[in-house]
Structures are given as C-alpha cells and as structure tokens.
Subunit: 136 residues, 3 copies
C-alpha cells in the first residue's frame, strides 16, 4: 500500500535547514513496517540527511558547497538566470532530490543524530513542493 | 506488486543526456499510486534528475564534473583503463546509480522542470543496461 | 510486504570497503521480485555502489574525497569533534545514507562489476548500524 502526501514548504533562505518535524507533521500515523520516501519537485533545491544537533554543521555545509560548486565559474554557459542558478542545479544533483528511510515498529528508523535537511541552493528559491510517500 | 523492465540504452557520448521518454516508453501504463525506481547496472555511468529544458545546463554539468573530478589527478592509482576511467567511477558514486520518483494519479510525480538524466562518464561507454521497477 | 533486518558492522578503518557479502548474509532468502534497501543510521559514514574488483579503486575514492572535501578548511566552524569530523558529515551527504537495488528472479540486480561500499569517513568511527529492508 502506498499513500502520498503533498507538502509545500514556505520560502527558506539559501542554506541547509532541518525539516524532519515538518515532514512528520504532514503525514498520518506511520505503519508498523514500511518506507518513507520524500521527493522534492525542483532542480535547484535538494534533500539530504545529516546531523540534527549543532547548527554550525549546516552553516559549514553551505560554505563548503559554495566552495566545491562556485558561482561565476568561467566555464558556465547557463548564466542568464543569475549567478546562483547553475551552481544550484549542480548542488541539487550532487545531493539528490529524494531520501528514503525505513519505518520500523511505527517509528522512523533514523539514527540518533540524523535529521532530514532541505538544501535551498537559490538566493530566492521561494516555496518548495515535496511529495511524501509512505509504503507499507 | 513489483514489476521490473529491462532497458538497454544505446551508446551515448560522454556527457549528460535526458532519457525521461526512453524510460517511460519502456514500461506499461503506470499504476494509480506507486513508485518508479530506475537503476543503472554500471559503475562508470549514473542517473540523476535535473533541468529538462535548456541544453546548456547539461553541458555545464559535464564541464563542472570534469573540474571537480579531474582526469590525471596525481593521486590516482587505478589508471590502466584510461584517464577517463577513475573519474568515471567517482562521478558515478557522487551522482548515484538510481533514482526513485513517486507515481501519483497514474502520472510520474516530477516537477515541471525535472527530467531524468543519464550521466555517461566514459569516452566510449557503450550500451548501458537499466532496470526499471514499478512498485504499486 | 516489507521485512527489516538490523546489521551492526564492526569498526572499519577510514576508507571505502566492500560489504555486499555482509549485507547478503544478514538477510533470509530473497523474494522472486522486490527491492533491497540499505540504510546507515549515521551522519559520518555512508553507502554507495561501485567497482567490486580492483582495490585501487577504493583507495582512489579515499584520496579523491580527501581532496574534494579537505580537513581543516579555513571556513569550517564545526571543528570541536576533530579535523576528520566536518569532512565526514559532508562526504556522508555527498554519497548518501542509503542504496536501493532491484531484486529480480530472486537475485540482487547488480551489474557484474557492482558491489556495495561502506564509506567510513571518520578516523575512529567504531561500529556502524545498518537497517536492511526487503520489499516484495
């Protein structure tokens, strides 16, 4: 059985943000066994799983990704949507548009320190649409 | 219920290519609710999801990945299959061998601008085998 | 139907390690058709799929990721858990915490050269917990 839920996230500022609670609040009770799949319907923002505690981790993510995928690289051809656009596409694919997490004993099978991140790669990305799917 | 479909892609040149239609043409009608999973059975090509419109985005992907994962890095030890081989393995894991997309109301739940990319990382990668799975 | 299996991997040294056999030994017989999902419950180690033959590929992975995500980058703020910690978080998200592989005719649908890698990004990561899920 598969059940989908739509979730529109409000505009977040460029950077990495924990959205675990927002995802969990968007869905009904979890099945005893299953899989949670979250998919972002955009090409300049992405989803990942990482440390849910110290906010400096998320700030370092933003700084490192800006270094590894810089703005204004001389080899970019797709530049007419702004200097933050092409790096956003690249970061989105490096991190990926979906995450999937086992549901075990009616609980999300995340490790103690794991949380779901929205990675907003654009300066003014606006609202972002997610499709959350529960497989049981 | 799970149904698998094999799809052998013809040889593509090194770079990023939209294959959404090829994937969709390989499968039967979509179920009302489900998940589409696409898996590439290779270690020097990968799958990702990104912008389906402007071809310059795909060219910038190729250029940026060549910068981020260069050929002939002095620290490569695995070099006997050619200078494009070890970077291909690295790029394949950075982007990953599979994508999964929700199926909602008998349609693929992609955003307006999203398409499925084959990322061919080798100079002469040849045909590539995919396993497409529909979960319902 | 979904069945989960817990697997605690012993401490591996920092680097990339093939764990396909360990994963397969942790589960019962495979269903005829299905999906194998493997999830790591940590934020400083990750899972990926790559070449299962030449060990130099795994050594090049370690060297390249150390170049692409260096220790002691001047912009890191999250440094109090050691110089290997923040790079470990970044590498974990670049590669991702899960892999999923089709199960076809009661066999894992991996290509000839594909194996499952544990990527241990910390110097002393210790034991690592996986949740293996079989969907049929």
């Amino acid at each position: 059985m598969i059940k989908h839920y739509g979730l529109t996230l409000p505009a977040y500022k460029r950077g990495f943000h924990i959205i675990t609670d927002k995802v969990m609040n968007a869905i009904d009770e979890l099945p005893e066994n299953g899989l949670l799949h979250v998919f972002i319907q955009h090409t300049s923002a992405s989803l990942t799983i990482n440390e849910n505690a110290d906010p400096s981790v998320r700030r370092d993510f933003e700084r490192h990704f800006n270094q590894m995928v810089p703005e204004n690289a001389p080899y970019y051809e797709h530049t007419y949507e702004g200097s933050d656009d092409m790096p956003a596409h690249l970061k989105a694919s490096i991190l990926g548009p979906s995450i999937s997490i086992p549901i075990v004993n009616s609980r999300l099978g995340l490790g103690t320190w794991q949380g779901i991140y929205l990675a907003e790669h654009r300066d003014h990305g606006g609202a972002r649409r997610l499709v959350i799917s529960v497989y049981s």
